[in-house]
Amino acid sequence: MKIIVCIKQVPETNNIDFNPSDLTINRSHVNGIINPFDLNAIEEAVRIKEKFDDVTISVISMGPPSFEKTLKEALTYGLDSAYLISDKLFAGSDTFSTAYILAESIKAIGDFDLILCGKHAIDGETGQVGSEIAENLKIPQATNVKKIEFHENKKIIKVESDTENGYRVLEVKLPALITVNKEINVPRIPSFKDARKALKIPIIKWDLGKLKNIDKTKIGLTGSPTKVVNIEKFQKKKDTKFISGTPNEIVNELYQILKDKHVV
């Protein structure tokens, strides 16, 4: 069985990294990390590999050369190969173009049974790339999945896909693409042995020269259907009234306000 995991490097969020003394955000080093949901996808692939014989896992990422670091890190979880899809002309790709490039790259890798993606990337948080890859490859999809179970013949999986008020149990024929959420598993800490093995695995780097089937009119800044045309600062909306004084004075005033508002 061949599994492909799509991973993205995202800026380390301030959610995790803060100064222990006063709990303010530590912005001094914004690092690139593996998108947290993609770690769940990697973990799930590794668990499948542990359960069955003859499973190979490839990891793939489209992005600038600096993403190589992320792929190296991914390999330490005990994966078999890693592909970095990188070309200057890919820069500025929106989700449509990104998914198209990834799908063409996956076709170039060859056969696969299962593609795993994260539920969404925490930078843009669109959660679109997975479904768009599935559509490009014309394979079934299940999104926001918290459990994957294999049928005996390994050609069909049963998944639990989260909804607003519960979940849906779906049967999906392989090959398929599944996007996973945090509930599916708790990613492990890579073992020393796997980490050492990873050092010996070369990162396979492909550009447009290798991926000749890619239609250049569908990629990059010019090929992306959506265009970011403006970035602006969030507008201040209100004249804020500040209350100051000792804590007791502040509370007295606050109490009066709550009273006026009929809260007390």
Partner: protein, 331 residues
């Protein structure tokens, strides 16, 4: 693609059994405004089998037309038959804008469809307008904490977007409004790509419907430790408030995601919103800025939360809240 061939605004209707979702009416609200500005029709598109909803409501809330496709394969949501059906309708009637709800179904369907139609898709838009050239101006918060980005889909149609609930308001329903229902038929052929639904499980919701709350006490990482949440719980029970939270503390696992307010959480509009130890990243502000009255407690005078607050308290929540609780409980 000839852009001129695409006319009109479409809303994808989501419903359960016989009830159209509230979010659908919100989408019709913004859809109506966009349609009026463009001087085009607003249409609802509804897929299903033996649909029992009161479709007239879609007219009351602003729809001019309803496209209805009934097929036994559309009885419950599945990615491929729904994509096939919408692809067929879009290619036949060519709307310039297609708006879907950012729900679990909408988020599964919209990218699959956008890719099939080879067009762009913007997730979770929070402001929409029509540009001078007739393009849909799509705005939303960007990754960085206090920026807003504007997106266009200038050369592809339809321009597709998703919207979360409570971002826009429905228009007042007009019971005299009517319109035309166009019944469509399409043969859908099952394929390897169709998933099979084995079960649909509905779970009891945790008791935290903060979207209905009149008063919300909301808490962020300023609370420092999960053990300190007791303080917030005490305050909220004194004033009969629900508890909201920033994503930081949801991500840290200190409180369940049912409480999260913001772009990727819930949008709330209580009478009073008290933000305690929340910095006010635009992602959070998007979800609470329409509250009637906002009180913010933060020890950092520069915290952006003060920009949307009616009352700003620059101070330590650990000093202020206990005194406030005392005062509230003595009475």
């Amino acid at each position: 693609m000839n852009l001129e061939d695409y006319k009109g605004i479409w809303i994808f209707v989501e419903y359960t059994e016989d009830k159209i979702s509230e979010l659908t009416f919100e989408l019709l609200g913004i859809g109506r405004r966009l349609a009026d500005k463009l001087k085009v029709e607003l249409s609802s598109v509804i897929l299903g089998h033996n649909i029992k909803c009161d479709l007239n409501l879609l007219f009351h809330y602003g729809s001019d037309k309803i496209y209805k496709l009934d097929n036994k394969h559309l009885e419950v949501y599945r990615t491929i038959p729904f994509t096939d059906a919408l692809e067929y309708l879009v290619n036949k009637y060519r709307p310039e804008v297609l708006i879907l709800p950012a729900t679990s179904i909408g988020k599964d369907l919209a990218p699959r469809l956008a890719c099939r139609l080879e067009t762009g898709l913007s997730a979770d838009c929070t402001e929409l307008d029509i540009g001078p050239d007739g393009n849909l101006i799509q705005k939303k918060p960007s990754y960085s904490e206090n920026d807003y980005i504007t997106i266009l889909t200038p050369n592809h149609r339809p321009q597709m977007i998703t919207i979360r609930s409570k971002i826009f308001t429905p228009q007042t329903p007009d019971p005299n409004r009517t319109g035309k229902i166009i019944e469509e038929h399409l043969e859908l052929n099952e394929s390897e790509n169709w998933t099979k639904i084995l079960e649909i499980i509905e779970e009891d919701q945790e008791d935290a419907n903060i979207q209905e709350a009149e008063i919300i006490v909301s808490v962020g990482r300023g609370i420092k430790k999960p053990e300190n949440l007791g303080l917030i719980k005490k305050l909220s029970s004194c004033i009969n408030a629900s508890i909201g939270a920033s994503r930081s503390i949801v991500d840290l696992g200190w409180i369940s995601h049912y409480h999260q307010v913001g772009l990727t959480g819930k949008t709330v509009k209580p009478k009073i919103y008290i933000a305690c130890g929340i910095s006010g990243a635009v992602h959070h502000i998007i979800g609470m800025k329409s509250s009637d009255f906002i009180i913010a407690i933060n020890k950092d005078p520069e915290a952006p939360i003060f920009q949307v607050a009616d009352i700003g308290i620059i101070g330590d929540l650990f000093e202020i809240i206990p005194i406030l609780i005392d005062k509230l409980t003595i009475k």
